[in-house]
Amino acid sequence: MTDPSNEQKDASVGTTGHEWDGIKELNNPLPLWWLWIFYATIIVAIIYFVIMPTFPLVSSYTAGTLNQSDRVNVEAAVNAARLERVERGAGLGDSSMEQIRSDTSLLEYGLAAGEAAFGDNCATCHGRGSQRIAGYPYLHDDVWLWGGTLDEIRQTIRFGIRADHDQTRFSQMPAFLSDGILTDDQVGDLADFVMSLSGSGGEFDAINRASSLFALHCASCHGEQGLGDQAQGAPNLSDRDWLYGGDRTTIIETISFSRYGVMPAWETRLDPITVRALAVYVHSLGGGEEETVSATE
């Protein structure tokens, strides 16, 4: 189909001489304002060249009259964020859990800062999310060796456990076999007894044989019912949670050679506000305990 108007156009503007399948490329002149816009972009480019950093030199670059620098901007932004962190985190200082809870912005800040610091410093051993690593307490549950209130958690983080610090949390269980206190058989009987405390097995005769051994060697720290004592970091033996493992072999190993888990004192590594934020975060993971009237630091 030929359109008469196209033929007229051919005549008025001509074609470039290019033709494909009967379709000719018209040689329409460009609107003049397109040319102006092209010149305008050149002018803008020159202005940009003058005011912004544009051109690399041997060891530096042309800075531009505006002195714009993303490096400086980012530094300023980071510094501002740091200042804001100190400012917002300052409230975490001596607030009780109740105070932090009622202050939404403080709580949000604490949780966010704590989560970040946890990932950087704690997750290596304590794991992320559902990761459970034998020998390192799982922080999502309600089991606390040294107490689960905000202040107790904070103290544990600050001074560590069996760490190189005067105020560190410290406890030591004798290695009953290797220290020569008990024999192989006695340790085996004791393991059966310990398992029976949480209702997870144990041979009847062995339990009977070991009851006096438990009262003599273990009850002073773990309690007569094996309920543990957070004041001295003695684990509760009657619950379902096992730090190193609840099978007979692992329990025998624990009694025979003892355990000596260590957590660093973070006070010397992190600033106080980060430690508080970490305490708030760990407390929020699901097992945080409330401060009772009798709890004193």
């Binding site: 549950d141 309600d142 949670d241 699901g286």
Partner: protein, 498 residues
Amino acid sequence: MDVADVKAKTEAAPGVERHDVEAVNAAALGSLYKAREAIYPKRVAGFFRNFKWFIMWATLGVYYITPWIRWDRGGDLPDQAVLIDFAAPRFYFFFIEIWPQEIYYLTGLMVLAAMFLFLATALLGRVWCGYTCPQTVWTDLFIWVERRVEGDRNARMKLDRQPWTGNKIARKSIKHTIWLLIAMATGGAWIFYFHDAPDLLWLFPRGEAPVASYFSFALLTATTYVFGGHMREQVCIYMCPWPRIQSALIDEDTLAVTYRKGRGEARGAHKKGDTWEGRGHCIDCQQCVVSCPMGIDIRDGLQLECIQCALCIDACDSIMDKLDLPKGLIAYDTDLNINRMAAGETPRFRFLRPRTVAYAIILTVVGSLMLYGLLTRDYLELNVLRDRSPNFVELSDGSVRNGYTIKIYNMLPREQTFVLGVAGLDAPELHLVGDPQTYDVLPPLTVGPDQIRSVRIYVTAPEARLPGTHQSPVTFSVENTEVGTVNTSQTVFVVGAR
């Protein structure tokens, strides 16, 4: 073609080859660039001109007045009928309030608009361009101002040729001042759609309005003034993609502003008393050309530059009246009928064509879906996000705990109190995170008007009542017990492999 053949044919002198070409950019072919030639559209009167005035005032009226319409929503919600609130973020349209997660309504609206445009184009050609496109509407308004200040076509041409006299300077400056005022009003009205209008009108002149509003105001003022006053048809011809797309949407059955060449040709001047036998009805008076805002000749046929504003129809009809000839030498007609008429056949209109039917079906389906969605829309939404890391936590007494983050969307403009229920487990213990108490039934939760409340909940199944499977379905529900609105959300409770 074989190169050797060409050579053989063209020798300038023995042994001297002559190329049979013309210089691509030969001076004879004209400059590479072409300055815009001013177009002085002549005033016309008639049905289409009146219709266009009506459309122009109607669309401008809608544009300028809409942000000032008030609509009481109660509470602290804005009382502006149409408001796009980016800060909230909400879109208010009279009784409809769209939340960001319902952005699909906007998608639906876009599909509807596109399909409506396709359908209108397939049936009636470029009606969008001719009547309702903002470029057309504002250009029409600017030309109206120009005509009021400088006079009609001939007066304007004369004025432009004149040297700069006091009269010319006065007229030109009045024209540009009015243009700029209109442009500022255009940019000014735009920003009212994004901020409470009376409030913004108060803040704007004081320099206290958001920066974005000044930027939008400046941008729209500049584009309106430049596009409507100075570029006009250049925007349609060189900048707009729509004319190109439209050529794929129209076919030989599409109505378009057309010169009925069968009736008009052969054209020529006509003296009083001459017979109309043996010649066309076009007297070549060029009224269609001088009235055209795009500067084209409709008699050249369908062309890209034609926005089909139908002003040439009015211009031609008034001439036909004078000559006592029937109107409609230029009229809305189809390509098919033009050829049928030229061949002496009867015109035929086909509005039901595969493409129009398809567009209509899509329009109906999308429109119905949108309407259904809007009518059955929930004003209460519940989102439950199960903790995945950890999936579940075994507690020291052998019970298992799962954590859930619950979001309650109160999409009504008043505060509501909800009862949150958990079904599917045998008497679980419930904890609101941050609240030391253990609940069998959670305390009622209050959600503010038009707000989202997020709570974390721990659900603990005691060892004695653990579900038998390692994953069992749980249903959370929120209920406003006063009015009975309920929304539920399904999730699972995981106890792990045991």
